[in-house]
């Protein structure tokens, strides 16, 4: 790689708003609160932010959420954009912020997002959220919500590799167990594989408990150059590698239903970081559905193609296993406010790498991966994070 981001930029602050059911708070309000918490975490004044990247919020009418957020906070950045690559927006925004800092476009970038999918949506907004992300000509007229695209990939995975509903259910069970230890998680009561299997069918093979939550909430990250990072924190968490991949727009042009562009985005990120999947200590994996996580464990290289079901049943995705994943509980149990959902994966992996997770701390966590994806596996963004000692 001619140019590399490896170790050039660090996350120096993370913050979030209340999450779950948070009525009466606008997406901008929630995102501003998360930002102020991230600033406090970084011991930083808001005037030091000169770049702002966000995703868009469904429950907000602003088209340029990043610009609206800047005004709300009364800051005037010299670099700003509102990104839209669906669920991969979080990873893409972190990678892009790192690139902007490395290239000199900005010194310190706020990467934030918030939404109120649970309590802030009018029926029209909800309709838009559910249907507008699919093509209005060749997909949506058939009544294909985005859930359906993920359901069809999981279904084919079951057919080709014998993956079972029980194995998918185990993903939900594991993340619920993780969430039970996370302050502020939306769902904390433990569930069993049977609970998942007996929950209502939503879009086969996915049942209610195979599907992520609907929540309100926001999270914010503050990135700055490695040179400045130690001015703000004793535990900067460095961006070691980033990779993205955009293999298709329509689900019917996905090259293979059971292998995704995460293979490509991860390969690029691992190469930049100079590590392999075997080196990673803790993971944040976009978990819009249980089967999505199974396919990602394969495509990110944690197990072989077709073996993710037994990998998860063996406890390899939790404490003591090969790759503790979504230790906060993920979108299946912690919170899923839409586009901001994957920001919490970043917040959690940063906290794990800082060794600040208390009773849910993964032992000796030095290297982490966050993988975000969206739109029926159309968009993929991988980020490798590491502590000072891995830089």
């Amino acid at each position: 790689m001619a140019n590399s981001l490896r170790g050039k930029v660090a996350i120096v602050g993370v913050g979030q708003s209340p999450t779950g059911r948070v009525p009466g708070r606008s997406p901008l309000d929630l995102t501003a609160e998360a930002t102020l918490n991230a600033l406090a975490d970084a011991n930083m004044e808001k005037a030091e932010i000169d770049g702002v990247l966000t995703g868009n919020a469904f429950a907000s009418s602003f088209h340029r959420f990043s610009v609206a957020l800047s005004e709300y906070l009364n800051i005037q950045p010299s670099y700003s954009n509102t990104l839209q690559v669906s669920g991969a927006t979080a990873g893409a925004a972190v990678n892009t912020a790192a690139a902007a800092i490395h290239s000199g476009l900005a010194d310190t970038v706020l990467v934030a997002c918030g939404d109120s999918l649970l309590t802030g949506m009018t029926p029209d907004m909800a309709m838009r959220a559910m249907t507008e992300s699919r093509d209005q000509q060749y997909e949506m007229p058939f009544g294909i919500p985005v859930a359906n695209t993920f359901a069809m990939t999981a279904h084919r995975h079951m057919k080709e590799y014998g993956t079972t509903s029980e194995q998918m259910a185990q993903v939900a069970v594991t993340f619920r167990e993780h969430a039970s230890r996370t302050p502020g998680a939306q769902k904390t009561e433990l569930i069993t594989v049977d609970d998942v299997i007996n929950s209502k069918m939503v879009s086969s093979p996915y049942r209610k408990l195979d599907c992520s939550l609907i929540s309100d909430g926001a999270a914010a990250l503050i990135l700055t150059s490695a040179e400045r990072a130690l001015d703000y924190t004793e535990t900067p968490i460095y961006i070691l590698g980033g990779g993205e991949y955009y293999s298709h727009e329509h689900i019917f042009l996905m090259p293979e239903l059971t292998q995704t562009g995460a293979v490509n985005s991860a390969q690029k990120a691992y190469e930049m970081a100079g590590v392999t999947a075997a080196d990673i200590d803790v993971a944040g994996i976009y978990d819009c559905f249980t089967g999505t996580v199974l396919m990602m464990l394969e495509d990110l290289g944690f197990c072989k193609k077709g073996e993710s079901g037994s990998f998860v049943e063996d406890g390899q995705m939790t404490y003591g296993g090969q790759i503790p994943t979504n230790t906060h509980g993920g979108m299946l149990s912690y919170a899923h406010p839409g586009i901001p959902a994957a920001w919490f994966h970043f917040v959690e992996v940063v906290r794990q790498l800082r060794s600040s997770c208390g009773e849910r701390q993964v032992d000796n966590a030095e290297l982490g991966i966050v993988h975000t994806l969206g739109a029926g596996f159309s968009t993929q963004a991988t980020t490798i994070l590491g502590t000072q000692s891995t830089r």
Binding site: P123, D124, M127, F142, S203
Partner: protein, 142 residues
């Protein structure tokens, strides 16, 4: 927040554009048009001005045989919005057409027990508005 507007009750209908008008016109005559590339032989769904394989503009529209197989499917029980509430449950299909391309469609009828991977289906156009017929599929009785 519980007010449901007229818009959210209406199903999204395709709005034909410069690329796709001929496709939607074909369906009104019962034809599912695919584009065949004169230069590289690639057959593509959906319609656009250039071949996605070789970028040639020498594309011919030809009606598909209407035969295909089910690559994957999902039965939708929870409607994506009020407009689809009357329809659930319904099955969405990923169809591999005999000519090669894959497409999204939905099943005519509700014989979900008969659904399976890699089984044959055939085209049945369904009129959903004055100017719009959707290319749906039904199970081929063998």
């Amino acid at each position: 927040m519980n007010k449901t507007s007229k818009d959210s009750l209406e199903k999204p209908l395709p709005t034909p554009d410069g690329d796709s008008q001929v496709f939607w016109d074909g369906l009104k005559k019962g034809e599912l048009l695919l584009q065949h590339c004169d230069d590289c032989g690639h057959v593509q769904y959906y319609q656009q001005r250039i071949c996605r394989q070789c970028q040639s503009v020498n594309l011919q529209h030809k009606a598909a045989s209407g035969r295909g197989t089910i690559h994957s499917f999902s039965v939708v029980y929870r409607a994506p919005g009020p407009a689809f509430k009357e329809d659930v449950p319904y099955a969405v299909l990923l169809i591999d057409l005999e000519e090669g391309p894959r497409m999204i469609s939905s099943l005519v009828g509700k014989d979900f027990n008969a659904l399976d991977f890699d089984i044959p289906v055939k085209l049945k156009t369904i009129r959903v508005a004055d100017e719009i017929c959707l290319p749906c599929f039904e199970l081929t009785i063998s």
